[in-house]
């Protein structure tokens, strides 16, 4: 299933692996712009428990580029801002094989 385009003033949040299992979704559209430092709290509000169970051990990418959620959080207002049309992905480690 191809991910449809995000509506105006929104960005696409893609879920992989355990993030898909937790949200039971492949993606969400969230309002943009949004500071990256607020992303995890926004997702936690939508899916209580996801932060500890999934997000904190996941890799995070913005437009296919790895970003460090913790470093971004420390930057506060100076950090990356997710723009409308961006593709953000939550990539939990898959360990099975």
């Amino acid at each position: 299933m191809a991910t449809p385009k995000a509506p105006a003033d929104h960005f696409t949040l893609l879920y992989f692996a355990a993030a898909t299992s937790f949200t039971r979704k492949q993606h969400d559209f969230l309002p943009a712009p949004m500071p990256l430092s607020q992303l995890y709290d926004t997702v936690e509000a939508k899916y209580p428990g996801i932060k500890a169970k999934v997000l904190e051990s996941s890799a995070l990418t913005v437009n296919l580029e790895y970003v460090d959620a913790e470093e971004e959080g420390a930057k506060g207002g100076q950090g990356t801002v997710i723009q409308s049309g961006d593709e953000v992905a939550i990539i939990p480690p898959v360990s099975s094989g």
Binding site: T3, A17, K53, V54, S57, L64, S95, G97
Partner: protein
């Protein structure tokens, strides 16, 4: 007069000395010119040899060239070829053999670097410029360690053995099970119960006996990992658990080996080439390690194995095949062509990007998404990484002494042999006892497996309300759904509820969630709060119990024909 004669003699002497000097200098000049010419010729030959070497070269050509040029520069290249190009048995500077026969025998032996059968076997890959003879020789001299011979390791090993890798190390302590066979392509019905290493050896020996196989019939341990890794050039992580993933990555950093890591679950896979180029801890030009990408392991209770989460054979197969591909690319990579000085600057004056500056990537495969493949650019090494930074705390010593405790780092996990048990026994019933209960409608059976499993096999009269990890984990949503469906009721109706799942863990979560919602105690009222208004949790206690051990126990204790999947 005497004086005049003396003067004349001295002038003659002077002229003679000058002439001698000119002659000597001219001779020296001639020698220098000859040496220059010789050096230039040698240089040219060396250049040609170098060019030929980059594309693959015929063995007898280099031997002839070596014989003709007895020059240090050429000897150096030959040495380099032997080391770098993996040219085992390359001709060394000739020492005349005693007889003509012997010389012929040696020449015959040396003429082609591969045996006749090998040209045929590897020809299809060798005729590609990416491989060539040069690449084939490098493969032949390469030593690759494969940790794990499951869904990833099987295809990876098959392709690397097929490609003619010189030595393949195989590590696994598991035995083959029937449930492996849909994806672990080296194993077969006949080898069920055998060690995976031995089962794989059987297949690989039959596929390509030219490869040297080194079996390690045990799970990788932190104590032994270092000494095993030392013997190899590249490591493939084909394991199935976070503890081994961190152990393998750490050991690759400590031993300076590039790591090709892959994983798969359900319909998705991930591929990472780590510690490439392999550099010592603190060297930021080295590739990131597994900890740089995933510094924190996922909570132990969220980790799913293939037996719990499921796995589609070709999904894990694709990932294993890609691992073999990345390993072949690493082994056969040609050295960067040297550029003339004037090319060192690009048009805008910035230094050109070398291959090493290209950021590493993670490949995501998602079989049911479009696009199926996504390539994500990764970060470089973390400057606070526990394994590959200057602040690294993981050392050979910490591994060997057990100071680096992977089980503690990743958390304790439940295994398939011992499911969690956290309910008091009063809230549980054995499958055998449940089977003896009257089937007169006085109790309700709730099956909490997902609908896919429910449709594989289910008990007649049961109601399916999938637990699905309890929604947000608390189970509130599940309880609400059960109430909405009329399966649970706020009011006592005289009927007892029984909850069953696949292995007997989710059913306990459900019972706990129901109790949290309605309060009160368990079935026999021993722990009840004793509310007396006739509601759930009242004097009757919460009348809901889990069936101990789920359908696994049902099969063992009640119905031997119950499908085990």
């Amino acid at each position: 007069m005497d004086m005049d004669m003396d003067m004349l003699t001295s002038t003659d002497d002077h002229i003679r000395r000058l002439r001698d000097q000119v002659t000597a200098t001219e001779s020296q000049l001639r020698t220098l010119r000859a040496q220059l010419q010789q050096a230039e010729q040698a240089g040219e030959s060396a250049r040609q040899l170098q060019e030929a070497y980059q594309g693959g070269f015929p063995a007898e050509w280099i031997e002839e060239t070596l014989g003709a040029l007895d020059d240090e520069a050429v000897a150096d290249i030959a040495t380099k070829l032997r080391q770098d190009g993996g040219f085992e048995g390359a001709p060394s500077p000739p020492t005349p053999p005693p007889t003509l026969d012997a010389r012929e025998a040696v020449a015959k032996q040396r003429r082609w670097p591969l045996r006749d059968e090998e040209y045929k076997r590897y020809g299809r890959q060798m005729i590609m410029p990416e491989i060539g003879l040069h690449g084939q020789l490098r493969l032949q001299n390469a030593k690759v360690l494969i940790v794990g011979l499951g869904g990833l390791g099987c295809p990876a090993a098959a392709y690397l053995a097929g490609a003619g890798v010189g030595t393949l190390g195989l590590v696994d302590g598991d035995t083959v099970e029937v449930s492996n066979l849909h994806r672990q392509i080296l194993h077969k019905k006949k080898t069920v119960g055998k060690l995976k290493v031995d089962s794989a050896l059987e297949y690989l020996q039959a596929l390509n006996p030219n490869v040297k196989y080194a079996p390690y019939r045990a799970h990788l341990s932190p104590e032994k990992a270092g000494s095993i890794f030392e013997r190899y050039d590249i490591v493939l992580d084909c394991t199935d658990h976070p503890t081994s993933r961190y152990l393998i990555s750490d050991t690759c950093i400590l031993t300076g080996k590039p790591l090709v890591s892959a994983s798969a679950l359900k319909t998705e896979g991930q591929l990472l080439v780590l510690n490439n180029p392999p550099r010592s801890p603190g060297d930021t030009t080295g590739g990131p390690c597994y900890r740089c990408v995933f510094p924190r392991p996922p909570p132990a209770e969220t980790i799913q194995s293939c037996s719990e989460g499921g796995i589609l054979g070709p999904v894990v197969g694709v990932m294993g095949v890609l691992q073999a591909l990345e390993a072949i690319k690493l082994i056969t990579a040609k050295p960067e062509p040297s550029m003339p000085d004037w090319m060192d600057m690009t048009l805008d004056g910035s230094p050109p990007a070398s291959a090493e500056e290209v950021k590493p990537t993670m490949l995501l495969f998602s079989a049911y998404s479009r696009p199926q493949f996504r390539s994500v650019r990764l970060r470089s090494r973390r400057n606070d990484c526990a394994a590959c930074s200057l602040q690294a705390t993981i050392t050979h010593h910490s591994l060997a002494s057990g100071l680096t405790d992977y089980t503690a780092f990743c958390g304790t996990t439940t295994t398939t042999t011992s499911p969690l048990s956290f309910l008091p026994s009063s809230a549980r019933i054995t499958a055998r006892d449940f089977a003896r209960l009257p089937t007169d409608g006085s109790n309700i059976l709730i099956d909490v497996r997902d609908s896919t499993q429910y449709s594989i096999c289910a008990l007649r009269g049961s109601t399916n309300i999938p637990w699905n990890g309890g929604g947000n984990g608390s189970g509130e949503a599940w309880v609400q759904q059960a109430i909405d469906m009329g399966v649970l009721s706020e009011y006592e109706d005289g009927r007892e509820r029984f909850v069953i799942c696949r292995r007997g863990e989710d059913s306990q979560m459900v019972v706990r969630a129901v109790r949290e919602r309605f309060g009160g105690g368990y079935a026999d009222g021993l722990e009840g709060d004793g509310e007396v208004d006739g509601r759930w949790g009242g004097s009757m206690g919460v009348r809901v119990r889990d069936i101990r051990g789920g359908f696994g126990a049902w099969r063992e204790e009640v119905d031997r024909t119950w499908p085990k999947y």
